[in-house]
């Protein structure tokens, strides 16, 4: 939990002002004396957010608040008839409301208003803490009508409206804010110094200018000298902006990974030394190691700092067909975890190698296919364990053979027993993680917040409205730009009407 706190705190630094909500629910879990000072906001829409820390934790809490909470509960937890008793945990399979895909099994809690944190109808989903599960749940909630991600301070604001919060307790929050790992600290600093902020601000400025020009055309073109060419310039600028934001949105989640951690999974056959590798990497005997095949049954997770990057390392059950139903479930989970991994360490035992070392590439390919049916090379590293059992001469041969077979992912030959080759492996692992996260100090700033993503997507959608109405109703077209700007503003800060007017008067001679 300590580690988790650290990750979340980096996130708080990133967008201190905007991010308030993500932390409040954690802190204010204790019940407050009920005093309703104002009527509940029944007409408001329904909001949701991850209320526990963003990052590795056994259990994550996603909170939903607002009139449509009950619909969210019904459709996600498949509760068609009765609702669970208020404030009582119920274990349910959580399904995607549209695809009916299984997202997780978790606890659901139903808090009918006013006896809830916000005073409104609320639902909590207590789910497994992996980012895939969390994102899956958040996306599923976002796909429901009338639900949207919470805005800055929104849970808190609603709680205030319902007279549920006392702010004195908020103020101790500042102490929680400090960056845990070095890379996160750097990214946090970068954001504060405004790299990402700068990018969004630039966009905001461009859009503000475009909007101002459209507004000038609306408010002043009749009887003033504002040329029609102004609108053409806006067309060009808006379409460029749209392309840029879309490109930014498709950055393969590098920044988010840096913020919430890279999911690294150790997988392979039974008894190849996965748990040994796991224990070495986390520098403590976190997983049970034994010579018995199938010792690890469940997925074991631990957060790590590797080369300054946050990593969530998972050890999984060895992959084999088995009649033991517990182990079969373990294998199933292992496969699921591998599916969601950012990086898989595929472990193989030297004992599995064929006599003819020239056959090694073929064996490795088949093995990889078994472990990772949908393999992408950048997603895995091969680890040949039990190097101590291999003659030194063989190592050189294997390395030579593999050099002639560039189709395979990089291979590390190491021994968990005597730590030989471990140093090289760690360097390789660190490089790979760095690539996955993107170096926060290099190239363009990447996207770090799911919330940013939501707003940027909204911005792109809003810009589409401009084109939809450009020729028929300029007021509605301008509305598109305006709501695009509002979406950007939710990340960078507000843009008021006065600022729009400032641009208008700077750029045009208004004479009426």
């Amino acid at each position: 939990m300590f580690f988790v706190t650290g990750w979340r705190s980096a996130l708080l630094i990133n967008v201190t002002r905007l991010q308030v909500d993500y932390m409040f629910p954690v802190v204010f879990r204790k019940p407050f004396p009920f005093r309703r000072l104002c009527k509940s906001a029944s007409s408001e829409d329904t909001i949701f957010a991850l209320s526990s820390g963003q990052g590795r934790c056994g259990v994550a809490v996603v909170r939903v608040s607002g009139p449509a909470s009950v619909d969210a509960l019904r459709s996600m937890a498949g509760l068609t008839r009765r609702l669970p008793a208020p404030r009582t945990a119920l274990l349910r399979r959580l399904l995607h409301p549209h695809s009916k895909e299984l997202l997780d099994r978790g606890l659901v809690l139903w808090f009918p208003g006013p006896h809830s944190f916000t005073g409104e109808d609320s639902v909590e989903f207590h789910i497994h803490g992996g980012p895939a599960v969390i994102n899956g749940i958040l996306q599923a909630l976002g796909s429901l009508p009338r639900l949207r991600p919470a805005e800055a301070g929104e849970f808190t604001r609603r709680a205030f409206h319902a007279g549920k919060l006392d702010l004195t307790e908020v103020e101790g929050m500042g102490d929680l804010i400090h960056a845990e790992t070095e890379a996160q600290r750097r990214q946090a600093l970068r954001q504060m110094a405004g790299d990402l902020g700068q990018l969004y601000n630039d966009w905001s400025l461009q859009l503000k200018q475009s909007l101002a020009h459209v507004e000038a055309f609306i408010d002043f073109s009749e009887g003033d000298l504002i040329e029609d060419g102004v609108l053409y310039e806006v067309d060009v600028a808006v379409s460029q902006l749209r392309v840029e934001v879309e490109k930014h949105l498709s950055d393969e989640r590098k920044g988010e990974r840096l913020r919430s951690g890279v999911q690294v999974v150790i997988a392979g056959s039974t008894n190849v030394g996965k748990s040994s590798l796991f224990n070495i990497l986390c520098q403590r005997p976190a997983a049970i190691v034994s010579p018995v095949a199938g010792t690890t049954r469940d997925v074991v997770e631990t957060p790590l700092d590797i080369g300054g990057f946050p990593v969530l390392l998972s050890d999984t059950a060895g992959l084999r067909d088995t009649c033991d139903c517990v182990e079969r479930e373990g294998v199933h989970r292992a496969r699921q975890t591998v599916e969601q991994a950012d990086l898989t360490l595929v472990v193989i035992d030297t004992a599995q190698l064929p006599q003819d070392l020239l056959m090694v590439p073929g064996l490795l390919s088949r093995y990889l296919k078994m472990v990772l049916p949908n393999r992408k090379d950048e997603q895995c590293l091969l680890v040949l364990n039990k190097r101590d059992l291999l003659p030194k001469s063989h190592i050189a041969v294997i390395q030579r053979v593999l050099q002639q077979n560039p189709g395979l992912p990089p291979l590390s030959i190491l021994s968990c027993h005597n730590k030989e080759g471990l140093e090289d492996f760690l360097t390789l692992l660190q490089d790979r993680i760095k690539t996955l996260c993107g170096d926060p100090l290099a190239s363009s700033p990447s996207l770090t917040q799911t919330r940013h993503r939501t707003h940027l997507q909204k911005c792109v959608d809003a810009l589409a409205q401009y084109y939809q109405y450009r020729d028929t109703d300029l007021a509605l077209a301008a509305e598109g730009l305006r709501s695009g700007l509002t979406s950007l503003g939710r990340i960078t800060g507000k843009v008021g009407a006065e600022e729009i007017l400032d641009v208008i008067f700077r750029d045009f001679c208004i004479g009426k």
Partner: protein, 697 residues
């Protein structure tokens, strides 16, 4: 009370045309009024009329009854953004819209091609006719007395300790020994007359408008020194008036009015002026010679050397040339009236010496032989920083004192009228021991205007633009009656029964028509069969309602009504409004939540006596300073202050909740105690009965 006013009203009818003065003098005898309005401009006239409509005995004091309703600058009304204000003033039963319909001589809807939300109803106005209409309305209005005179000072007493404010007004002292008039609600609408000075070339003279004596020296002193109000200075200007016969219109572009003039007022079906009787406007441009004269005149033009802030959007020709040199600037030649021999050159406001003005004008080909009837001049005047006002336009510091119009730093007839109306309503309400009311940004441009003024203050003369309204698509000129008239009658008490009935009828008709449209559902194939060729998407397999079809560009309500005459033909009179509603409803729906959030925040009052610097919550010094300077009345106003962070808002919420969630008005109400419920409906009915009696007589 009503007998008296009826008697006075009849008296007025007899005397009005023959001798206003006599009538004025006869009424001055009454020395105590519910509401006193000082100033007879657009703010003052609407304020007086609105206060009287709410049921308060009202006195309007003006320097000259003759100049009541004068258009001191441009002979036009409305426009983009301003047109919306005129519509809203009309929807609250104000005078301006009807006066415009009576006096308009060239009607056009600006922005026709840009979407109904930003249409700008506008008209050129016959000055004389406008003045006449306003004067006859006011002089015939029950519960309203008009007198000529100058106010020298405000009468003050100790403040009521249970209400916010350090002072309390109890009346006015008239100049020249005119005695005292008592009243607990006073509205100042002195326009540019507060320490006003006129500029032309290098000469300066005291005054607020050319041809009128300066006034308000005593008032200025009282506001600044006695009441300690923060005052700023602004400037404005007006162009020379040209002799029509000396303009060569053949060298200009002709601009014709709309062939079907659309009235401003919701109660008028057509304008007074017949379509074919309307006058055209003419457009011409400045030349490089104009630039040259401007540059030569700089050393003899003291107005533009002043630091005082002028408007950026209505600049003098001097500042236009200086800011954007080498350009052609538009000059609109506008008629001043049906029979007037003058022309108003819009865009050529200037303050250089008269001989240079003439030289400048004659650099424009169409004005080569032009003669000036009255030279252009500049005005500098004091305004009271409007952040010192509550959203109901009463001074925070002075109980019973209301300000409206240019004195609050605005410019424009429409802006003045809108404030005047709202100040009048509230002065009337307070005089009648009713709680004050404010209008939300989410329901009206008037709300946007007042919220901007009291929330942010002004740094230049404030003018309305559509871009100031965040909910522009909902605040359209076409639906001002639906937005405001019912509330104006039911809650505010400033709207007549007839107008209310009409708004209810329209609202019901629109509602029925929309549900009728919704009830017609056909497949896209069937729609094509019914309506003939139009571009409905082929792939759409689901049923489409009539309302959705009406959103299509090429589909009009008339077209639908011809296809379904039984269901839709009763609603043909709402044809255009239905089309707009159908197109805009989905967008307004999207904004609804945001509007509700804003309304909620607007309902959370921040106490006026908070010491932001010692507030024991974590706010940055910067934020504290902003809050201290602006002293927002509500949390909503605070969120709109530049530099205020969401975190600061959360911290402020704590105080709102601590103090108790009440609106400013409600807090006021608690102190004053509520008035019996029956008041609202009763007074309106009584008033209407009274009106009926008068008409019969």
């Amino acid at each position: 009370m009503f007998d008296m006013s009826l008697a006075r009203r009849l008296l007025v009818r007899q005397h009005f045309l023959s001798d206003c003065f006599v009538r004025a003098a006869s009424n001055a005898a009454r020395l105590k009024y519910d509401v006193v309005v000082v100033g007879g401009g657009h703010a003052g006239t609407e304020a007086a009329a609105a206060a009287a409509r709410t049921g308060a005995e009202t006195l309007l004091i003006t320097q000259k009854i003759q100049t009541i309703g004068a258009l001191s600058c441009n002979p036009s009304l409305g426009g983009v953004g301003k047109g919306q204000l005129v519509r809203e003033v009309d929807a609250l039963d104000g005078l301006m819209g009807r006066a415009g319909d009576r006096a308009g001589i060239h009607f056009s809807i600006l922005n026709r091609s840009k979407g109904p939300a930003v249409w700008g109803p506008r008209a050129q106005i016959d000055r004389g006719c406008y003045r006449e209409f306003i004067q006859s309305e006011l002089l015939n209005m029950p519960r309203l007395t008009v007198i000529e005179g100058s106010v020298e000072d405000l009468l003050l007493s100790a403040a009521d300790p249970e209400q916010p404010g350090k002072h309390k007004v109890t009346g006015v002292r008239m100049a020249n020994g005119g005695g005292e008039i008592l009243s607990g609600s006073i509205i100042l609408t002195t326009g540019t007359f507060l320490s006003g000075s006129l500029f032309m070339g290098q000469t300066t003279s005291p005054g607020g408008r050319m041809g009128d004596p300066p006034s308000c020296a005593g008032l200025s002193h009282c506001l600044r020194e006695v009441l300690g109000l923060k005052v700023g200075r602004l400037r404005t200007g007006t162009p020379p008036r040209l002799v029509k016969d000396t303009v060569d219109f053949s060298l200009t572009e002709l601009h014709l009015p709309d062939s079907k003039p659309v009235p401003f007022s919701f109660v008028n079906k057509h304008t007074q002026c017949k379509p074919e009787e309307q006058l055209p406007c003419h457009l011409t441009y400045t030349t490089p010679g104009v630039d040259k004269v401007v540059r030569e005149s700089l050393n003899v033009n003291s107005h533009i050397h002043q630091d005082t802030r002028g408007p950026r959007y209505c600049p003098s020709i001097e500042s236009r040339v200086l800011r954007f040199p080498g350009r052609q600037h538009q000059v609109w030649l506008e008629p001043e009236g049906l029979t007037s021999d003058l022309v108003y050159p819009q865009g050529l406001s200037m303050t250089m010496p008269p001989e240079l003005q003439l030289r400048l004008l004659r650099e424009i080909p169409a004005l080569r032989r032009v003669e000036i009837r009255m030279a252009g001049y500049g005005v500098q005047y004091d305004f009271v920083c409007p952040t010192q006002l509550f959203p109901w336009l009463q001074m925070k510091n002075v109980q019973g004192l209301f300000l409206a119009g240019q004195i609050n730093g605005t410019t424009g007839y429409e802006e003045a009228a809108a404030q005047g109306l709202w100040a009048g309503v509230n002065a009337g309400r307070i005089a009648l021991s009713l709680p004050p009311m404010s209008l939300s940004r989410t329901e009206s441009y008037i709300g946007v205007l007042i919220d901007d003024l009291v929330g942010r203050g002004v740094t230049e003369p404030y003018r309305m633009f559509t871009s100031r309204a965040e909910f522009r698509t909902a605040l359209r000129p076409d639906n001002a009656d639906l937005r405001l008239t019912p509330r104006g009658f039911e809650e505010v008490g400033c709207v007549s029964w007839q107008r209310y009935q009409e708004a209810v009828r329209v609202s019901r008709g629109l509602g029925e028509a929309l549900s009728a449209l919704q009830s017609i559902t056909l497949s896209s194939f069937q729609w094509r069969e019914k309506l003939g060729h139009f571009s409905i998407s082929e792939t759409k397999s689901t049923l489409i309602s009539g309302k959705e079809v009406l959103q299509y560009k090429d589909v009009s309500f008339d077209l639908l009504a011809s296809a379904f005459p039984d269901i839709l033909s009763p609603y043909l009179e709402f044809s255009e409004r239905l089309k707009i509603e159908a197109v805009y409803q989905p967008h307004c729906e999207k904004q609804r939540q945001e509007m509700e959030r804003m309304r909620k925040e607007e309902s959370l009052a921040l106490p006026q006596d908070i010491d932001y610097f010692s507030l024991p919550v974590s706010l940055s010094d910067e934020v504290r300073e902003i809050l201290d300077r602006a002293r927002p009345s509500t949390l909503g106003a605070a969120t709109r202050l530049p530099g205020i962070t969401p975190a600061a808002i959360i911290h402020l919420l704590r105080f709102v909740t601590k103090v108790g969630v009440t609106t400013g008005e409600a807090a006021y109400m608690q102190v004053r105690g509520p008035k019996p419920d029956c008041w609202r409906g009763a007074s309106v009915h009584e008033r209407d009965r009274e009106k009926a009696t008068v008409v019969q007589s």
